[in-house]
Subunit: 592 residues, 2 copies
Amino acid sequence: MANPLIDDRTLDFLLYDVLDTEALVRFPRFEMHNKESFTLALRTVAKLARESLFPTLRKMDQEPPVLKDGRVHTHPDLPRVVGQMVEQGYVAMARPIEVGGMQMPLTIASAIGAYLDAGNVGAACYVGLSGGAAHLIESFGSDELKKTYMQPMYEGRWTGTMALTEPHAGSSLADVRTKATPTGKGDYLVQGEKVFISGGDNSFSENIVHLTLARIDGAPAGTKGVSLFVIPKRRVEGGKLVDNDCKPSGLFHKMGWKGLPSIALKFGEDNACHGYLVGKANEGLRCMFQMMNGARLNVGMAAAANASVAYHEALAYAQNRPQGRAMTNRDASTPQVPIIEHMDVRRMLLAQKAIVEGCLALLLTCARYSDVADASPDEEARAKAQKLLDLLTPIAKSFPAEKGFEANALAVQVHGGYGYTAEYLPELLLREQKLNTLHEGTTGIQSLDLLGRKIFGDMGLSIGLLGEEMRQDIAQAEKLPRTKKHAGALGEALDGWTVLLATLGTRAQSGDVDGALATSVWHLELASTIVVAWLWLRMAHIAAKKPSSPFYEGKLRAADYWFETELPRAAELCRRVEMPTPAYRSMPIDAF
Amino acid sequence: MANPLIDDRTLDFLLYDVLDTEALVRFPRFEMHNKESFTLALRTVAKLARESLFPTLRKMDQEPPVLKDGRVHTHPDLPRVVGQMVEQGYVAMARPIEVGGMQMPLTIASAIGAYLDAGNVGAACYVGLSGGAAHLIESFGSDELKKTYMQPMYEGRWTGTMALTEPHAGSSLADVRTKATPTGKGDYLVQGEKVFISGGDNSFSENIVHLTLARIDGAPAGTKGVSLFVIPKRRVEGGKLVDNDCKPSGLFHKMGWKGLPSIALKFGEDNACHGYLVGKANEGLRCMFQMMNGARLNVGMAAAANASVAYHEALAYAQNRPQGRAMTNRDASTPQVPIIEHMDVRRMLLAQKAIVEGCLALLLTCARYSDVADASPDEEARAKAQKLLDLLTPIAKSFPAEKGFEANALAVQVHGGYGYTAEYLPELLLREQKLNTLHEGTTGIQSLDLLGRKIFGDMGLSIGLLGEEMRQDIAQAEKLPRTKKHAGALGEALDGWTVLLATLGTRAQSGDVDGALATSVWHLELASTIVVAWLWLRMAHIAAKKPSSPFYEGKLRAADYWFETELPRAAELCRRVEMPTPAYRSMPIDAF
């Protein structure tokens, strides 16, 4: 049986039973949609992902891009598959009709993204990056920029990138040096070098538009002096496309994502690179956060989708590979059994299932908050949803990446020695997955965002709202015998987390900021484990009320797994996070 | 600064301060050695590994072997580097002088292996496999086989392999089908197919000798009908080497270890493949376990060595890469700081250090038990050491592989986006590491070996001995203020483990074997965490008594890390292992 990539029925369960996505069509913005149009869109993308994208994954992995004669040569299948995605309108799916979009709720757009990422994330990213880059122009750009650059991007004729990182400034955007000098004619001449520009060049799109952070001459140091620019590979001049002095200067050789080149890019080597300011001067980082936040959710979804593909590979292999016999059967003349009958293989499969579906639930929950925040007519609901979305974003970015990597390693392990070979997919998926803990803000950066900015920086307001959401579900789940125990366990974990945050908050306020943040990555792990437990509780509660079937039994078992294996780590994690002076804190550098 | 691969001083600390390796020269077998000869051998291998092997690692990764015209074409650097290892006598290092060996303690041979593995494990394996295969002939073969096959292997002219796995029989050796038909002239005609034969063909050695499991016609089903054979690629006939009908039939495309081809091999396609019985008929598996146990320790060491290289890469990067500023410094005009000053980078480095050095200590401890078991004049000491070695082998095989993979992922993470690229080494090391949880018995197999065979199968005798060893060190460490708390924590964990084992034992005896073994992988994790905590306690106790210095402070901090981060997981792991019916146990297959 072919790999489903994402299980359709699980997705429907999440969208309609768990998240009541249908209710979104009551918002004016989404009123042209209905469940049927959602379902049609989902079945269409599933078919495209399975039949068109997925078969290119191994091929692109084996023929990585090449930088030759100043051009990046990408895989020959890309024009076809990117073309198909463009044709389906995926670049501007969630954007308004007026700009050529489909005005689709992000919840559905995210689910569509899950299939595309699962099929071939490297190829799908051209679409996601182009949409995100164009959206920046839509939100902050002039009408001229919208007409000239945004429109061809939304139409999928041109692709887009985000150009933030520089060789000496990866996580530290305060140190961006690329400089923009006003020409006096409204535009700027840009000089600088960017690295890790995904899709920074390719051999199929008519033009590439880089949404770039740079510093206008005389701007203040740090993040307060960073501005956002449109820097096209070819600029429009007199109705024609002319070369804009952006040269690929290097190509990174990545472990995976080989459909999507990651390159170094030089702007203005011949002092002929024109940039166009987007939004106000020195407000670039604030603007860019729109794209970064979207990209963070996309990374989380890519991670969950990747782990889903690996899980389905492992499941099929375990069902079909005969090896060994029951522990108590020593008769070698009896046939071997499929390895899914072995206890540890079952453990590895259920762990993967719990991670994959828990992470899908997390990402779709975030997308739904985003829809409410953007489109609800109820102002209070909008504000609350925005708070919850902001709080959950670092979790949704990093947890699927970290935990998905664990799941992917298990998928390799289920395949035994074969898992280490290119004859099976899990090794490729494992390599692809590793990127997700790194790009769009490492796990360490996300952990500081969560604890420093989203919790302390907000005086605990958002976390209070999240607690309320959880308590409501706990109260519901407590009423059902099948979920009562889990509800109690989640309540306890939430109490523990609350106490911990009070301790850390006091520590930060007393001036020991380093001490309050010293264990932020463990805090992120704790928070994520609890949040996913909450989502599993919701899923279990709904599944328990359905007529018994293997499908719902699967949801209940995966929830049981989370509550007997992952959530019980919370108490010990709390203790660990609470340590003010972990061994590494003041360790002399020469003692490492 | 160049990567040291393995830190010399840490190795000396382990060998001489922790393990008193010098005492081994009091055994008659090792009396020709002394600390100076050990040190000379270690400095020699360090130089060879750093200057000759390590520079070939990336090259071999980028030019994998090719199967063409029925031959496997291996990397052109192999003859040189394998030749250098042969010249240093590494094939038969630990074997007796009489057979051309150096009669070196395995403790030193293992340390030498650590450098070689760290340099380039794929290349080093030719030497390790040849030695292990020849050792089987030495232990169980006829004088004729020793003269004809073992001798050229020990001399490094011929290489050797172990040929166990078949397409339908990976972990389940009971299902080996390769058949051996007596010719009536003392040898056998062999037919069958083996897969995953590491070094199964190469383009540099004069001959390749496969130590092969096969079934003599009419042998009983299962493991009791499996015999061990020498099957050379070219057999000696009339003083000449003639083709022996062993054909490479496929090449696996692996994630790493690309210096060492893993191939499928067909024996007797033309019915002209001669095999020579080693040991008694139907006792092949018992014989093969000698090589498998050795190979398991080698895998553990390879895993530890790999993680060590990755740690040193990460440490150097962290010391030299400026990025960002202190949490409390918002002034972007001040210089960026090296990332080792960031709290989470420090955490990732110390975690790696604690894993790497804990695993090195584990492997060297096993090697030392092996030396006592083989060479002590004291019979009781020999028996006890053998028990402890047998008990610790599954831990020493699997924990460095599983935990090393975690460490390697952290090394990638420390490098940020660069870690995902071939411009830095950690991505290669991560790919290499993944094999170690799979070959020579997966982690699942090791966990069953530990709990089923080494603990239940032994009526708890070995685990009792291990407990005594630990209690002695706990008693010592309790006397020192710096280690008192850790000693208490280890004692508690040991108590918890003991109670758990009683519960599981009772469960097994009452007939619920599946229930007793259902969580065996978690038990392996628990056991490993406690064993490594014990070794860190020993190291800390010794370091605490030394004059204060960055080196010893590093040992103490790494021990602190283990005791504040890893060991506290024991209680929760105990609870989890104890579950008789985890969610996956009886889950219907269609609910996955």
